[in-house]
């Protein structure tokens, strides 16, 4: 169905100009194309508009003023300049490194920069104490081995892994541990590049285990130092 076919447009055209642009660009639906061919044959005003659109298009195309350099040297030089820069850049897939992002995120944490390694060690010590306190309330103020013994007696599981891994991390950082333990800890922190980063990661994990109030208490104590 040709749009406007039953209506007389001011210029006696039976089809809208926009539609003739689509026809010129082969953007007309197949079922409409045949109708438009018939229209072109029988309607002089529509034939004129279609023809003038085609001529304008041709005019524009042939008025193209852009003339590219023809010399092969020109393009070779441009290519070489581009590739010279590309050669100095890391390969795109290697430029996105999640672990380095994590380290950067940790480095942005102001408290860790202010604290320094000594301050971080103090935080770890505090957290170690807090870690003991987080065991079941009925077993507070007991040492870890005592807690294990009590738990075994009552067939309860005791969360000793957190404390043990903290000990390992402290040992690695202080350099007192070596061999298998150090290796097992470092395996879990392979993405860290420096000892500081290892400290930061350990501290960050511990902080995540603390409640809001506990974390704030630790940090305010750290700032005081």
């Amino acid at each position: 169905m040709v749009k406007g076919s039953r209506q007389q447009q001011p210029s006696n055209r039976l089809f809208q100009d926009e539609g003739w642009v689509d026809h010129l660009e082969n953007e007309i639906e197949a079922n409409l194309r045949d109708d438009l061919e018939i229209l072109l044959k029988n309607s002089e005003p529509d034939r004129r508009i279609r023809s003038s659109l085609e001529q304008i298009r041709t005019l524009v195309r042939n008025s193209d003023e852009v003339v590219l350099p023809e010399s092969g040297h020109f393009y070779q030089n441009m290519h070489d300049r581009i590739m010279a820069q590309v050669e100095t850049m890391p390969t795109p897939s290697a430029s996105v490194h999640r672990s380095s992002w994590n380290i950067k995120a940790l480095r942005r944490n102001r408290w860790s920069r202010r604290a320094g390694p000594v301050g971080v060690m103090m935080v770890l010590a505090v957290m170690s104490w807090l870690g003991v306190r987080s065991v079941d309330s009925g077993q507070e103020n007991q040492s870890a081995p005592a807690q294990v013994a009590a738990a075994q007696g009552t067939n309860k599981s005791v969360p000793v892994s957190n404390e043990r891994s903290l000990e390992l991390e402290l040992a690695v950082v202080s350099g007192t541990e070596s061999g298998a333990f150090a290796e097992s800890v470092t395996d879990s922190v392979l993405t860290h590049e420096t000892q500081d980063d290892l400290l930061l990661a350990a501290v960050d994990r511990r902080l995540q285990d603390l409640s809001q109030a506990e974390a704030e208490a630790v940090l305010s104590g750290l700032m005081a130092n």
Partner: protein, 201 residues
């Protein structure tokens, strides 16, 4: 010969020679489309180089949802727009327009005037209409590719093109001094009746 997508995958796997192939394949067309908007060869060269560098840096983000060429064009046109952002739109000085007219060609003066006239009208179009028209008429891109480059819906790209062509027709058809002739030797000759009668006088 590898397709663009295959070359992109090779680049992602660390093969820089694949990127060299992509540069050789697309640098000419990229320069053409950039030069059309900048009108300065040196500036267009800079933009093309920057665009390829950006494409290399961001190639890991290219997912193949559009063609590599469209993606590259989009980078180039955005780079060109950023360069022009602070410039106010200058009135076109047709004397500065670089014309590729063969000085030995017959009626070269007539064709030169006509080209200037048409290009001046094209420059007066709103930016999006001008871009859609240029990409369609000069670069022979599909409306799908134009939509990808202009980052707009398919129908919007088509609408911009329609409006551009209809506006040009309205402006040029109203000029009594212009008469359109049939294509001759690959170039369309326009008779500027008023100009030719002035020369005779």
């Amino acid at each position: 010969m590898k397709s663009d997508i295959e070359l992109v995958l090779d680049v992602k796997n660390g093969d820089r020679s694949a990127f060299s192939e992509l540069v050789q394949r697309h640098q000419r067309s990229l320069l053409r489309v950039t030069l059309r908007f900048t009108r300065e060869l040196t500036l267009a060269e800079d933009i093309v180089q920057d665009s390829f560098i950006k494409a290399y840096q961001k190639i890991h983000l290219f997912e193949g949802r559009s063609s590599f060429k469209s993606w590259l064009y989009q980078i180039a046109l955005n780079t060109a727009k950023n360069r022009f952002r602070d410039r106010s739109r200058e009135e076109i000085n047709i004397e500065d327009v670089y014309l590729g007219v063969d000085p030995g060609a017959e009626s070269s003066m007539v064709r030169s005037d006509a080209r200037k006239r048409i290009q001046a009208e094209v420059e007066l179009l709103p930016e999006k209409q001008r871009m859609a028209l240029s990409l369609r008429v000069f670069e022979d891109l599909s409306f799908k590719e134009i939509a990808q480059i202009m980052d707009c819906p398919y129908d919007t790209a088509k609408a911009n093109y329609r409006h551009a062509l209809l506006k040009l027709r309205e402006r040029l058809e109203g000029e009594d001094s212009l008469r359109v002739w049939e294509e001759f030797d690959g170039a369309l000759s326009l008779e500027v009746a008023a100009a030719s009668s002035d020369r005779e006088q």
